[in-house]
């Protein structure tokens, strides 16, 4: 079905999505307005263009305040990023604290409020670490330099003779002290434009880090363990009603008519506007009853839809092979394939496929919408606060300044919350009833109507000579371009991407297409190793020049004991690696096949993302991604027929549980000499191919489709 929301950009590699143009206008801040929002004191605005590093994000100078030093001593960092559990709040806090020379607890972080925070684009693509953290650090370093400068001037000395410690400068050998609050209270304090500064303030080099690099626990840990932490679904507003929205019986179905009277008879307010029909009532129980009464009267026009059984054929059949531009196919070639295959001693080819899967975050989509004086405010869980604001402005034809999106820290995202469906639905209901409305999608709605991780099909072919890959021909259908480029050296190579008609609505995911592209590539590389009669690890190392990828493979293999691995009697070991978004991962798996059950007996992974900023959170991200990856590798698969999802319940859509988490070892390689890259996504990409390869070692049968299922006969 055609998707009704714009999010496809996240399917594509950054260069396709990058918005290169700056804003046509730059406006001055209105001091009074901003003082009301963030408080009196000193503001540091950062240059907009450096902060986002994400597509679709027009930098907005009107919301450029990056750091606020309050006259009361509060220090606030502002960013349009969101925290969906990956730990951006803590990371931003830690980074600012490093440069300000204060403890992390002294820094407050204000995230994702389109009226207040800078537009830092989507929280996606592992961009917070490489793009947002440096900007925050620069603003914090600027504040530190200003404090040093002000103290030096007051005391008639040189800034270089002074240091900031615990948020203040102390006069050497003297009594006087100047803090950030003193600086904020000084008569000259005003808003400071970072971009106009004569030079960039120096950032603290890694070897001098005192706060970054140390394990820091969750920023809001205490609120979380006491249940006080407020998620989007917890927002309450005075007079708020609870909403429910009518869903189609099948994908692509059109609502012909619906009678609202039965819902109204039950005391609910009901609305039907175009494709949306829904109701709102005092409790969600009443809203459900009213919705059921409405639904019984609804007439739909359904249309034929493909089923998951014919998915592979459907994608191949609808592949778009001609065309150009953003949404067209892609093809990259080097050398000459013909020459490469002619020189090959052996040629190997294979096809792979992956199904649609769901993100299934713990908190389904939720939004509270409120209209006041023609202005719409929505609290919602989304990874694209500014994108959702645009969607709201478009849906309700609102001028700029009349829509505000606030994102409370959200119960999971994994790339699945880029869109604003719940926000728009809640806003439409709220407009109809004249009261704030809370709309919380049910789990069943989240599984059926949220967008999916794209399915994909691959055709791969390669030529071998002397244990080396001499020709490489890789074609991906539908899944996407992230992670398509092979890290293996091949003089003659062709990489192709074909967009297809997607039966289901699809969008971003953790690692997006790198999950499928790495599954296909790393499983195929094992087939090549087999054809070359080489050990899978040795074959990889022989064909890889990327030192960092070699390092993680070697580190994982060593920790796993690759040389001493067990094989036979249904037990096998597999290895796989990959690079994505500037970070590197390798995984080794030992599994046992027992009848139709595949039991992961051990999982060892090595991960490297440059200089480690917070080893505690990094480990949690890596472990979480690995286990989430086990779900896609072994359990998860969206099944559908006739436009209906066949497993839109958690009972029918199993995801990893405690008992599925295998004995695990994670090796973190620290590279203080390299810039930090994001780490939330990449660790997921090596799990599935390592499992497929281990399955082959255990059974002699290649697993070329996900999820890997044991065939009872083998």
């Amino acid at each position: 079905m055609p998707s009704s929301f714009e999010f496809q950009e996240d399917l594509f590699e950054p260069e396709r999505r990058e918005l290169l143009e700056g804003p046509p206008y730059r406006f001055e801040l209105d001091r009074r307005e901003w003082a009301a929002l963030v408080g009196a004191g000193l503001w540091i605005t950062a240059a907009g263009k450096t902060a986002y590093g994400q597509s679709g994000a027009a930098p907005e100078l009107a919301a450029g305040i990056r750091l606020h030093l309050g006259q009361d001593g509060t220090i606030t960092v502002l960013t349009g990023k969101v925290d969906v559990g990956q730990g951006s709040r803590g990371q931003i806090r830690q980074a600012a604290a490093e440069e300000l020379r204060v403890s992390p607890e002294a820094v407050r972080v204000r995230l994702a409020d389109t009226d207040v925070t800078p537009n830092d684009g989507s929280t996606a693509g592992s961009r917070t670490t490489p793009s947002t953290v440096p900007v925050v650090r620069r603003a914090a370093a600027r504040a530190r330099e200003m404090l040093l400068g002000a103290a030096a001037q007051a005391w008639g000395t040189e800034p270089s003779r002074l240091t900031v410690r615990d948020g203040a400068v102390t006069e050497p050998g003297g009594e006087r002290r100047m803090s950030y609050a003193d600086l904020a209270r000084s008569p000259g304090a005003a808003d400071v434009r970072d971009e106009g500064a004569p030079r960039q303030p120096p950032l603290t080099p890694v070897e001098q880090w005192r706060t970054l690099g140390r394990p820091e626990g969750k920023a809001d840990g205490r609120a979380i363990v006491t249940g006080r932490h407020e998620y989007p679904s917890d927002i309450r507003r005075p007079g708020m009603l609870y909403g429910a929205v009518l869903r189609a019986p099948s994908y692509g179905a059109r609502l012909l008519s619906v009678d609202l009277a039965p819902a109204k008879a039950l005391g609910a307010a009901a609305v039907h506007d175009g494709e949306l029909a829904g109701c709102a009532a005092e409790t969600s129980y009443q809203a459900r009853k009213a919705l059921a009464a409405m639904a019984a009267t609804a007439r739909w026009e359904e249309s034929p839809q493909p089923s998951s059984d014919e998915l592979t054929e459907h994608l191949r059949r609808t592949a778009q092979r001609e065309g150009s531009g953003r949404s067209g196919p892609r093809r990259e070639e080097r050398g000459s394939l013909e020459q490469g295959f002619a020189a090959a001693e052996k040629t190997v080819s294979a096809s792979y496929s992956i199904p649609y899967i769901q993100h299934a975050p713990m908190e389904p989509r939720a939004a509270v919408a409120e209209w006041a004086d023609g202005k719409l405010t929505v609290w919602t869980g989304t990874q694209r606060p500014f994108g959702v604001r645009e969607q709201l402005m478009e849906a309700f034809r609102l001028p700029a300044g009349k829509a505000r999106v606030i994102v409370p820290d959200t119960g999971g995202g994994f790339g699945g919350k880029h869109t604003g469906e719940a926000a728009i639905e809640a806003a439409r209901l709220a407009k109809a009833v004249g009261k704030p409305v809370s709309l919380r999608w049910t789990r069943q709605e989240e599984l059926a109507w949220a967008y999916f991780r794209p399915a994909g099909v691959w055709d791969v072919r390669a030529g071998l000579a002397g244990g080396k890959i001499v020709a490489w021909d890789f074609a991906c259908f539908n899944a996407g371009t992230a992670g398509m480029e092979s890290p293996y050296a091949a003089p003659h190579a062709r990489t192709q991407y074909f967009p297809c008609d997607s039966p289901l609505r699809e969008g971003s995911y953790r690692g997006i297409a790198a999950t499928g592209n790495n599954f296909a590539r790393e499983t195929f590389v094992d087939e090549l190793a087999e054809a070359a009669g080489a050990d899978p690890l040795a074959f990889r190392l022989d064909n890889l020049s990327d030192e960092r990828l070699r390092n993680v493979l070697t580190a994982a293999a060593e920790a796993f004991g690759w040389e001493r691995r067990r094989t036979g009697r249904g037990v096998g070991a597999g290895i796989a690696g990959g690079v994505e978004k500037g970070s590197y991962v390798a995984a080794c798996v030992e599994l046992a096949v027992e009848g139709e059950a595949i039991r992961i007996r051990r999982l060892v992974a090595a991960f490297e993302c440059g200089a480690i900023q917070n080893p505690l959170n990094l480990r949690a991200q890596v472990e979480g991604a690995l286990i989430q990856g086990l779900g896609g590798a072994l359990l998860e698969e969206v099944r559908f027929a006739g436009g209906r999802l066949l497993n839109a319940r958690l009972a029918d859509y199993p995801v990893p549980r405690f008992a599925d988490a295998p004995p695990m070892e994670v090796v973190l390689l620290d590279r203080p000499d390299l810039p930090s890259a994001g780490a939330g996504e990449t660790p997921i990409i090596a799990v599935a191919p390592a499992i497929a390869n281990a399955y082959q070692a255990a059974t002699g049968v290649r697993a070329r489709a996900l999820p890997v299922r044991a065939k009872a006969s083998s």
């Binding site: 979380i224 975050p361 789990r443 959170n617 008992a659």
Partner: protein
């Protein structure tokens, strides 16, 4: 039809007038603003909505409010004593056993009941006892660590108590 129902929530008695078949989860959240209890699936598969009903971990999404009448209901809000965290809460904090944190209230309540039943659980017993609770961030390792930490803390506290007596 709505009827008055008496609920004992976190040590307080509250009377709600509501439909008896309404899920306890929604009455707690919407009528009583007890929001630490979370909706996750409505099918008892994720246990984010866990409350202790007469001490037993119970999915409140599948429990009609009438069935909770007269029983003691403990939600995450009922664990800490003032500013002092319950040892299981403290252990989750120390083990940093949370990513988005949405599953944590249910995890902590399930763990509390598990430790009362099995004060010194093996890792296998922890996994078996917690397996009904989902964490989509998949932070299972730190959660197992937290439960183990809570068990050890409890043992130490008991040993100290025994020495004093």
């Amino acid at each position: 039809m709505p009827q008055p129902i008496e609920l004992h929530v976190n040590g307080r008695t509250r009377t709600v007038t509501t439909e008896p078949d309404r899920p306890l989860l929604e009455v707690l959240r919407e009528d009583l603003a007890v929001q630490g209890v979370k909706y996750g699936c409505g099918e008892g598969q994720c246990r984010a909505c866990t409350v202790l009903l007469d001490g037993r971990p119970t999915p409140s999404c599948l429990t009609p409010v009438s069935r909770a009448a007269g029983k003691t209901i403990v939600s995450i809000e009922g664990l800490a004593e003032g500013e002092e965290l319950h040892p299981v809460q403290q252990a989750f904090l120390e083990a940093d056993a949370m990513q988005c944190g949405y599953c944590v209230p249910g995890m902590i309540l399930t763990a509390k009941a598990l430790l009362e039943r099995t004060p010194d659980p093996s890792d296998e017993q922890i996994v078996a006892g917690m397996n009904g609770n989902l964490c989509r961030c998949c932070g299972y390792r730190n959660i197992v660590k937290a439960v183990r930490l809570a068990a050890e803390g409890k043992k130490r506290a008991e040993a100290r108590h025994a020495e004093l007596v």
